[in-house]
């Protein structure tokens, strides 16, 4: 009897052992830095010198004196408000195309996922620079229609949108989720509405869109979190310029931490970003009660 009991206990631990690579990775590479950064945010840590405790001075400096902070915050919000909707609309559009019953549709599904695999890698970002530079392919193409060249990356009013396009290009993961959602919509809804004379567009707004709102919500939350933390595109393509017009929050953090030797200050800034992301996420989730539709009542 006792032996059996012990064996059961071992079985419990066995499970833990299987997931231990994750647990250890999580503890060492996520939880520890997470907690350490709170502590550092109250110090003048330079990453090298021994930190000394300075209370909330970092936070005071951030909100009252730092000339870059507010500018960068505005750029980041603009970026999120632009990149997330663009990406979701595009992902949904492609998902609907790929939901059609075509021969070899699986091939297309794979092809359209490719950009997400290439992602925001440096090579892609470099390619972006060549596509959108003043004498680049895009402007050459527009030139055929006698449209004057546009400063896609050189003009401070436009550059942020061009960086946003790089994010839109990586629509794959949202698209896959949308595609799964679209497949869940019962066919008979469409048939019934067609009999009632609903047009395709009407069908989209009264059937398709409401039916996939849970997925829309999930994608929106995930993409918003990702967009707040965006870094690669702005760093590799424009390095925050021109005139700090693409100086996203992530870049400011990076520069403070690794160029200006202000790791303590950067930690404080990262906590403010974390709090902003939490607030925005809560707002999204709360508001979803009004617009996200769940067949089972919607407790998640």
């Amino acid at each position: 009897m006792k032996l059996k009991h012990q064996r059961k206990r071992f079985k419990d631990y066995e499970g833990l052992l299987y997931i231990s690579p994750f647990i250890i990775g999580f503890l060492v590479f996520q939880l520890y830095p997470f907690i350490a950064s709170i502590v550092y945010s109250f110090t003048n840590f330079t990453m090298i010198k021994k930190p000394s405790f300075i209370g909330i001075e970092n936070y005071i400096y951030m909100f009252t004196k730092d000339r870059e902070f507010w500018g960068s915050l505005v750029v980041t919000f603009k970026y999120v408000l632009m990149a997330v909707p663009m990406k979701l609309i595009f992902a949904l559009f492609i998902a609907m195309l790929l939901n059609m019953k075509l021969k070899s549709i699986n091939f297309f599904r794979t092809v359209y996922y490719l950009p997400s695999i290439l992602g925001g890698s440096v090579a892609v970002a470099v390619m972006w620079r060549f596509l959108f530079m003043q004498d680049g392919v895009v402007n050459k193409f527009l030139g055929i229609f006698s449209i004057p060249p546009i400063g896609w990356l050189g003009n401070p009013d436009i550059s942020l949108y061009t960086i946003g396009l790089l994010a839109v290009w990586q629509f794959g993961s949202s698209m896959v989720l949308f595609l799964a959602g679209l497949k869940q919509i019962p066919e008979n809804l469409y048939e019934a509405s067609a009999i009632d004379g609903a047009s395709k567009i009407k069908q989209f707004f009264v059937i398709t869109l409401p039916m996939i709102t849970p997925i829309l919500l999930f994608n929106m939350v995930m993409q918003t979190i990702g967009a707040f933390q965006e870094f690669t595109g702005a760093f590799v393509i424009t390095n925050g310029g021109p005139m700090k017009s693409t100086y996203l929050y992530g870049m400011m953090l990076y520069n403070n931490a690794f160029v200006n030797f202000k790791m303590g200050y950067a930690s404080a800034q990262s906590w403010i970003l974390f709090i902003i992301i939490i607030i925005v996420t809560i707002i999204l989730l709360k508001s979803s009660k009004r617009w996200a539709y769940y067949e089972d009542g919607g407790d998640f």
Binding site: I24, G154, P242, N260
Partner: protein, 444 residues
Amino acid sequence: MKKFKRIVSLVCVSCLLISSVVGCGSKVEDKSKDSVTKKEDTVKKDEAVELRFSWWGGEARHEGTLAVIDAYMAKNPNVKIEAEYSGWDGYYQKLVTQLAGTTAPDVIQINYNWLHDLRRQGKFFTDPRDMKDIIDVSGFSQASLDAISVDGELQGLPTGLNAVGMIYNKEFFEKNNLPQDIEYWNWDNLIEEGKRVHEADANQYLLNEFPKTLVDLSNMYLEQKGKEIVTKDFTVGVNVEELTEVYEYIQKLFDNGVIPPFEESALFQDKTEQYPKWINGEMGMFIQVASVIPALSGNFDVGVTRVPLMDGAKSSGVSINATNIFAINDNGPNKEEAAKLINFMLNEEEGINILKDVRGVQSTENGRKLLLDAGAINPVISQTIDIASKYPGQANNEAEMNSELNDIKLQYIEKLGYGELSPEEAATEMLEVIEEKLEEIKKN
């Protein structure tokens, strides 16, 4: 069967686990091992050593450096050198992280304008004079060593000499009837000729400038008047009128089409060799350091003249600097081996002959002579150094290399160039911001 499967998977997981734990703890282990090898090193010379060596650069520098590494390893079979090379972007940030985590390579290429920022954080690099019996520092001029010392502590050794000159495209100059006289240019005829060239063909610009290089240009202009924006004691050294004059000059460069608008150029900052306008020969010249000449002369021949000079200039504003610096990681396990490698590259004939001018003109008299005799130095590079020694400027001071101050200067050049602020507004606002930052720096 089921049990067997379970045992196999358990073994696998355990392996993963152990390797991850070992991976985490390797740093500590390494150290103890290293101290052992160090002790043995003095006794037994042939102990296998693994050296890490990092640098940034272009294709030519990579090839040259890899070749010299091969030669060194062939000579010293007990040494295995791990080359960690990349382009310029992100190199510094990675290095800072490595230094903080004490995982930096043994031999590190560093830039002269990082020295003060880094030394303020701690002692990272061994003074080569502490290893006199391994590295010979006698061939380097005292001035070149002083330039890379912080508070009398030498941070490394200069890999080569570098100076700014006006590098010009010969074809472009012939096509536009521009004189190739070394002493031709001053600030006024720069605008006149630039205007003429741009009016002849709207695609052409006489001078290539990016936001960052315009910061250098404004520093140079001020230095010729005996001024600097921030003095070496971290105080403001110009008034609004003086700064406005510089900014008005830059405005004129834009207005007359002497330099391309930022909308076109800014994207290729630090990447001139990729800049289509430069590659296609639509740009006349570029005020840049000599070490980039090989990268800039891919499609056409280039020459060099001195920088524009004003009447009665107090100095040219051009200083001769170390192209970059080879430093020995002070916390590294193989300091002696690192010193040997540096000595091989900078002092020994074989190393010098292989490296040639991939890091500018050799900084030792002997090395320079060796390569000049062999005709291995790009004549334009050595000419740039000659011109710079004929028209000297002041040495760079710590304030000029401060990353935060430079960032402010850059921001206001951008605001000026993109037309957001007039020269006077930019000058007024920038001095306010600089003053604020200086106070902050003093407090820390």
